[in-house]
């Protein structure tokens, strides 16, 4: 390849991701993106310039050696690529699928200046899936037992990462999970068609192989408090990774009518409780003919696309700013539009109207225009007076965001939170206001991303290890 003239290499178009046809996939829950073939992966990997100063790496919150793993793929050493990934990222099959790459690693790839950036996420997914397909699970050796016990609250990406890192260092780790299945948002929020649950199960299995105990059906703050775990059950340190699980509503009239869901409820019924297989599974969910989803983030896109797959014919996305401001990943907005989402940008719901029997009948919206930029730098949407109109709907899903669940802070004396209820933790170590208690992920930052939660978990694991070791031998 070195005979290539500089500048030529990398100019080839990115390898397209094979996907299910939109009209077919909107009727099933199978994964939409099918993954690269080995040939495609090698061809894409060969576009990489193997930069001496790889800017892509600075865009990855866990600093994966991107040229390293990509080179391995280019050379056909897929095993080696998977190993390289695992050095920095315990969940490559997950991140390769759900990371907002366009804002992270791929945003900084030099190829993107002139041509298309390298498809780093797709290659990461390829290597991780390839390893899984071989039916191999390389379990690294763990350090000799330290005799120290760590409790991890929550089994989302933050909790799983902390648990894996600390187990590798020889600590005895137990994860406490409130729900009946581990994985956090990866199992109850993100749908099967974007992230198959078998992948999450595999990652959890890996962590269990490292010796981590997973206690499901255990609500910290209710079943036991953090104080009890530390003072009575002998935990030397605790990591809190409880996520942003509290659904926000808009506080508009009609929000408690039958047929109005929070996105959390809607997605939990479908994903965790498998309502899409009712009555084989006992939990039902309603969609009717027409659904309006309120919001413009990933959660809204997932709700829209779930509603279609559950059989809704018309699915609206009602968003108060314009498409350009939508916080969802571009790829997922495109997927949803291809599948038939009707986007009502610059629309804000003002009330939900009932049918006289306690059920939703219509949603009344007002048109918006973009005004001056607000504190976040985005132009503030302002209502256009007198522009109200109604849409007939059977179901409304509110996907305007989630906050921190107060259960742990309210039962842990001395644990400081900010004015929104997020736990205050040091950005470098995750240390909270209590000795031996660390926190990270969405519970600290507010709703963010999988990879940021993992990054926070990684930093906290390092700090927890130092803390435990500074206490001397157990």
């Amino acid at each position: 390849m070195s005979e290539n003239k500089p500048g030529r290499k990398g100019s080839e178009p990115r390898q397209e991701m094979p996907r299910q046809d939109p009209m077919v996939r909107r009727t099933n829950f199978d994964e939409v993106a099918l993954g690269y073939s080995a040939e495609q992966a090698v061809a894409e990997a060969q576009r990489c310039l193997r930069c001496k100063k790889p800017f892509c790496v600075s865009g990855c919150p866990v600093e994966i050696d991107i040229p390293g793993f990509v080179t391995a793929i280019a050379e056909g050493d897929f095993d080696g690529a998977a190993r390289k990934l695992k050095e920095k990222n315990a969940l490559p099959a997950v991140c390769g699928r759900v990371c907002p790459q366009e804002d992270q690693c791929e945003k900084y790839c030099v190829l993107g200046k002139k041509w298309e950036p390298l498809a780093i996420g797709r290659l990461e997914r390829f290597a991780a899936d390839w390893e899984a397909k071989q039916g191999r699970m390389s379990v690294p050796e763990t350090a000799p037992p330290t005799g120290r016990k760590v409790g991890v609250v929550g089994s989302g990406p933050a909790g799983l990462t902390v648990a894996a890192d600390l187990a590798l260092l020889g600590h005895e780790v137990t994860i406490f999970e409130a729900l009946h299945a581990p994985g956090g948002v990866l199992v109850y929020g993100i749908p099967e068609f974007r992230l198959p649950k078998s992948i999450v199960a595999r990652e959890v299995e890996f962590i269990e192989k490292l010796g981590v105990k997973v206690e499901v059906d255990f609500v910290v703050g209710a079943t036991r408090t953090i104080g009890e775990l530390m003072n009575e059950e002998g935990y030397d340190a605790i990591f809190i990774g409880t996520g942003a699980g509290l659904p926000y509503f808009m506080n508009i009239p009609g929000e408690n009518l039958n047929g109005v869901y929070s996105a959390n409820e809607f997605l939990t019924r479908s994903n965790l409780m498998k309502a899409f297989r009712f009555p084989e599974y006992d939990t039902p969910v309603k969609v009717g003919k027409t659904v309006a989803v309120v919001g413009g983030g990933n959660v809204a896109m997932d709700s829209v696309r779930t509603a279609m797959r559950l059989g809704a014919e018309n699915v609206y996305c009602v968003y108060r700013r314009s498409r350009a401001e939508m916080p969802a990943r571009e790829e997922e907005i495109e997927n949803a539009l291809e599948e038939g989402m009707i986007l009502k940008e610059l629309h804000n719901p003002v009330r939900i109207i009932d049918d006289g029997n306690g059920w939703v009948k219509q949603i009344e919206c007002i048109k918006m225009k973009l005004g001056e930029p607000d504190a976040s730098g985005r132009r503030r949407p302002v209502p256009i007076e007198g522009s109200e109109f109604t849409i007939d709907v059977d179901v409304v899903v509110i996907a305007i965001g989630q906050g921190p669940n107060p259960l742990v802070p309210s039962t842990t004396e001395g644990l400081e939170t900010n004015k929104w209820g997020n736990i205050m933790a040091d950005a470098e170590t995750g240390l909270t206001s209590l000795e031996g208690v660390y926190a990270g992920g969405d519970i600290v930052t507010g709703a963010a991303t999988v990879i940021l939660a993992m990054g926070a978990g990684r930093k906290a694991a390092r700090a927890i290890h130092e803390y435990l070791m500074s206490k001397g031998q157990a």
Partner: protein, 282 residues
Amino acid sequence: MHKIIKKEALTPEIKLYVVDAPLIATKVRPGQFVVLRLHEQGERIPLTVADFDRDEGTITLVVAEIGKTTKEMGTLDEGDGILDVVGPLGKATHIENYGTVACVGGGIGIAPVFPIARALKAAGNRVVSIIGARCKDILILEDWMKGASSELHVTTDDGSYGIHGFVTQQMEKLIGEGYKFDFAVGIGPVPMMKAFAGVTRRHNIKSIVSLNPIMIDGTGMCGVCRVEVDGKTRFACVDGPEFDAHLVDYDLLLSRQTTYLKEEKQALERFEKCGGDCGKHE
């Protein structure tokens, strides 16, 4: 897996289960509940902890068989297991010595009233309990309530046992006879709780009810359990389940409980058709 240690039919359609759940048994307090899931395909349903034995590590659940899940639970025997039991959830009842309190339980609501009455009595209250059922055959836990109360009144809607009438009529009558209640607890079907709130409002008695909306997680994550109290939306699983009886929007609660009537009927018919085996092992 949580083993069923003991099962007893209180009536043909109300069963009592003593379930092995040591983590919950050592922590639970009156007013709290658990969420359980029978098996992998099962729904998560909330049930009040009617009694507990901290030493044995068991909790007691009293379950009215009204739909698919509760009827399927009825097919389990002693020694069988329940896949998931999580708790204790919800805020515990605030217990203090008010003076004279009324503990009013209707139908299956008698089960959750029992531990509250017992705790109020232990705190020094004079506990006047009024329990009732539609008819004699479906009245439950009379003996337990006798032990937990200073005074017990029993009503039946059809007069087949005890006093003829509703529990709320009996409460009204006692007040007319000069009973002065400093506090009251009322748990039962929504219309009963609404009537109870009417009585205590008329007589200016501070009172609480325990609400039973549909739930999933029971930890404040999904919002399905939202109720309106004093015009504000609250999540019954974490903010409740007990609320000031005078401030609850009962009609909204009733309406929201009917969300899945059609699907519940479908699930029940399917269950009854295949004799309890469908959905369990697939």
